[in-house]
Amino acid sequence: MRGATNAGWAACAVAVALAATACGGGGDSGGDGGAVLSSSWTDPQNPLEPANTNEVQGGKVLSMIFRGLKQYDPKTGEAEDMLAERIETSDSRNYTVTVKDGWTFSNGEKVTAKSFVDAWNYGASLRNNQKNAYFFSYIEGYDKVHPAKGEQTAETMSGLKVTGERTFTVRLRQKFSSFPDTLGYNAFVPLPRAFYEDHAGWLAKPVGNGPYAVESYTKGSEMRLTKWDAYPGEDAARNGGVTLKVYTDNNTAYTDLMAGNLDLVDDVPAQQLKNVANDLGDRYLNTPAGIIQTLAFPFYDKNWNKAGSVKVRKGLSRAINREQITDTIFQKTRTPATDWTSPVLGADGGYKEGLCGEWCEYDAAAAKKLIEEGGGLPGGQVKITYNADTGSHKLWVDAVCNSINNALDNDRACVGNPIGTFADFRSKSTTQKLSGPFRAGWQMDYPLTQNFLQPLYYTNASSNDGKWSSEEFDRLVDRANAETDPAKAVEMFQKAEEVVRDNMAAIPLWYQNGSAGWSERLSNVALNPFSVPVYDQIKVG
């Protein structure tokens, strides 16, 4: 099928090049700032509320219609003040936030300190079922509004106080110096009164304070966003609006891009990667995103938690030929991992190339030796568990197993163990029902080293599904969080990361790239560190 259509794709690229201006997008084709572009989208899984959205597709919309206290720079990932005039602290525990003057929601309501405090209290409250509620868990009084068991005993968090129209104070449960940097996350945006007063109406047509306003929203098929002309920020939209179209299959979206019916695809399907250079030329982007894939281990299983297990895990890591797999299977859209964070953090932000050292380098002989020294594979075989429904995980799991089998000279050393649906896979991995390594992916919430380490490896942390635990690691993380000097905090986090390495708590596989392809109408397309297009900067025509 693919081979037969290659010529077709090449031919149609030319056709599209000629026809693109005539049939693109559905907006007016004049080269002004008023033209609308169309972009592929997938229906969000959860209701579209800031504290309830935990996947990229819903987050994409929130980042278009909301602005929070901080905003992550699309290039560097650095947290910069947006609505925050100042965030002050003297002890890394009590913060005073001053909100900038002159900001309103697109319905005219003023953005005040109360807009933030109410939104955060809403997000944290157990009664509202918000899936990102734990983002507020650093704030004092969280355990009263969101107890681990039983009914909530307070309406609001005691650590949040409105002290003026534009000022409020935050008291944390413990020292956390990078707390201000987390405030660029979507869960922390302010909400207008309409959100509480007419909740259903708000969900049908969300109102925010960002560069775009929702014009219409047909659930499951399309959302039309238009530029909000009265937007007070500096990052006002440079196009007239964005139409997000829901696609059932990203292959269809790509075909539509080829035919000139769509302007932007932010997820080029794996099957098309071979043709993409031919089809799009330089209208294709493939840059690292804050996503790392690893193999996690069930430390609750005593087979994986005995004396020689570290050597076995290190041996497995050395038996995986990352270069070859990322080249052949992923067409270089992944980069072999050499630490447990992501290159988007930058060297100052905590990414340290090569921290994994020789343990992430392919060496069949060393791998075999290490595994033998460690007492061999538990039960003579490893089964890598993954969900088979999305993400073409089968392809790379089979390749990893192949690599391990070749290195160990044993056809049965490693096999894949597919599970039908993502939900079932998650329910098995979160309830500790797996007996071998399993795929683990981590997409960062905010560009901080802390976010790559604490949720995954801290004792009993929210995403520590393998139940790994190390007192030394926990202590280093606590110290890093309390550290007020960012450079020293990063240094401390890297020490903690070395503990992860020395124990091989998880095998780092590769960093994932974000990809995008676009029509000739567009220019200035970029992906931010979360692999979401920077819509407001795109120029049409």
Binding site: K149, A423, S463
Partner: protein, 307 residues
């Protein structure tokens, strides 16, 4: 006739209950749907418990089923995980798929039966061999290949159609997807009609009709075709149900947000309410189609009577 219809309707009740129960159990053994809702991060225990309570997942399965069926009879199909009522999903998905099915059935009836009659009357001639070969090719090529190829040839290379169908999914955009959806059934209908016509052509009543000196078109349409349609009608009746539920592949290729898409999403996200709701309606469609087919027999062949 009236009693027959009532008896058939009563028979539907156990079939309906049985099939919904089966689907309900099948979706439920897939495990805990809440686990998938929080993405790659675990839902905190309190939120997970709260969500389970809200969707009624903390009850035993039999109780969930009873509550569910109780609600269904009052027209409440529950809420999908994204906060939308399942009835709302149905009201957007079913019209689209019904339109797609109508297009497909029209293709089947018009092209399929015409080709069948033509070839059945000209057995062994070049046109017969040609159509036989053609239908064999259509049957053996999988739908997704036909779909993707047509999409590429007509949508990208030629720009005659849009490769993806818009939200409103009007009839004219559904012509090509409808043809793709109909293709395999169309080929079967051609072959069924052909065989049936060829067989009945030699029967006594056709010879009598010809001997009476009736015009040829009257012999073919009133005598020959009407009796030959019984197996074809049976096939089309069953096909309506299959087309509505089984349009997943076609709907995916052409980005049609119909029943197939909703079912696929529902299964991927393990959304019990969506899956069971849509399947319940599809079961009803199947049952009603079968009833209509059985009643049509009497219209086509008066010798068939219902006690």
């Amino acid at each position: 006739m009236g009693r027959y219809v009532v008896r058939r309707l009563v028979q539907m009740v156990p079939v309906f209950i049985g099939s919904t129960l089966l689907i309900f159990l099948m979706v439920n053994v897939m495990g805990d749907p809440v686990a998938g809702l929080c993405g790659d991060r675990q839902c905190d225990a309190a939120t997970a418990a709260q969500l389970k309570k809200e969707f009624g997942l903390d009850q035993p399965v039999w109780q969930q089923y009873l509550t569910y069926m109780g609600n269904v009879f009052t027209g409440d199909f529950g809420t999908a995980f994204n906060g939308q009522e399942v009835t709302e999903l149905m009201s957007t998905a079913f019209p689209v798929t019904i339109r797609l099915t109508i297009v497909a059935i029209l293709f089947e009836v018009v092209i399929g039966i015409t080709l069948g009659v033509v070839t059945g009357l000209r057995r062994g001639r070049p046109i017969d061999t040609g159509v036989l070969l053609f239908t064999l090719v259509v049957i053996s090529v999988p739908t997704f290949v036909t779909g993707l190829l047509l999409q590429l040839m007509l949508g990208v290379e030629r720009d005659w159609i849009r490769p993806s169908v818009s939200t409103e999914a009007p009839f004219d955009e559904l012509i090509v997807p409808g043809l793709v959806l109909a293709s395999v059934s169309l080929a079967y209908i051609t072959r069924l009609t052909r065989t049936s016509i060829a067989e009945n052509r030699r029967s006594d009543y056709v010879r009598t009709a010809i001997a009476k000196g009736l015009p040829r078109h009257r012999v073919v349409t009133r005598h020959l075709l009407r009796n030959s349609l019984i197996p074809v009608v049976t096939f089309i009746g069953a096909d309506i149900g299959f087309l509505m539920g089984g349009a997943i592949v076609t709907e995916r290729i052409f980005n049609i947000h119909g029943v197939g898409y909703q079912l696929y999403q529902g299964i991927l996200r393990q959304n019990t309410q969506t899956v069971v709701g849509f399947v319940t309606v599809l079961v009803l469609v199947f049952l009603l189609c079968n009833l209509v087919v059985d009643l049509l027999y009497a219209v086509l062949d008066p010798r068939i009577r219902y006690a």
